[in-house]
Symmetry: C2
Subunit: 161 residues, 2 copies
């Protein structure tokens, strides 16, 4: 079982095929890096391959919101810091901060809602094992720290100026 | 210049490398398909490679929200229907509906905010050419049709039941 210490950040190098005609990391590949960072998070939480194979339980992504804040280049490495903004018996509301050394501010932030699911003919949501629940509760941000996670997800709309 | 007719849907086959350990299309690859569908949209709008090379103008993605509604399998083909939910002189609020033949309902929906940018040492937003603006205005959904685009993007949060 994973210890109750803080989560380790995930680091990814940028692949040449991920750069678009604008010369920057294509929007979708922030998502690919995040998806891999969430796999890494699952390993850290004890929801790893052995767990998935034993229990047929896994995480499904329900919704995701990404803000693209700075251009990322081939020469950058992306660091993803995952934060448990909130959780309940079956769900994790994950916040993710993307950084690269060249830029002082985050280059992107994301929020993702993840559901713990038992796979079957008819997959259904399932409670986390007690140890995972305890770990998540220990990782959950305080209301104040959660409030500092910005820009926060929202309804996307054009505001007339 | 593109005609003022409706947009053509974008179709993608699923690649083996896009399937995750759950046996389904990995969340991030909905984003890769959407990114390619937006390239196709740019071609349809006249914001194609020739335009980008002549003007140094392109679209940047500011934010994106995806709802994952149904599992997608390797044997499915994904069809993405793009809708202009709203637009102004420099921005497109795009709605995207993901379908596959096997499932009657959409398998995912997305909203994306796109900004027209002139690339330079300091990239800056730039108005669309008049013909593109006219085309976008012609494609823009009515308020009623926009209201029918659901689930709509929102603040992601755990609601206690």
């Amino acid at each position: 079982m994973s210890s109750s210490s803080a989560l380790t950040a995930y680091c990814a190098n940028i692949e040449t095929a991920w750069i678009d005609y604008n010369g920057h990391l294509r929007d979708a590949y922030y998502g690919v890096v995040l998806s891999n960072a969430i796999d890494d998070l699952m390993d850290q939480l004890g929801l790893d391959a052995a767990y998935r194979s034993e229990t047929r339980c896994t995480l499904y992504t329900l919704e995701q919101h990404v803000y693209y804040l700075h251009e990322v280049k081939l020469s950058d490495a992306l660091i993803v810091e995952n934060l448990v903004l909130d959780c309940d018996l079956k769900r994790i509301h994950l916040g993710s901060i993307f950084r690269c050394e060249r830029v002082p501010e985050p280059v992107a932030v994301a929020e993702t809602m993840l559901l713990h699911v038992r796979q079957a003919e008819q997959p259904g949501s399932a409670p986390f094992p007690a140890a995972v629940e305890t770990r998540l509760e220990g990782l959950k941000l305080t209301a104040e720290d959660r409030g500092a996670f910005t820009p926060s997800s929202r309804k996307i709309e054009l505001k007339r100026r």
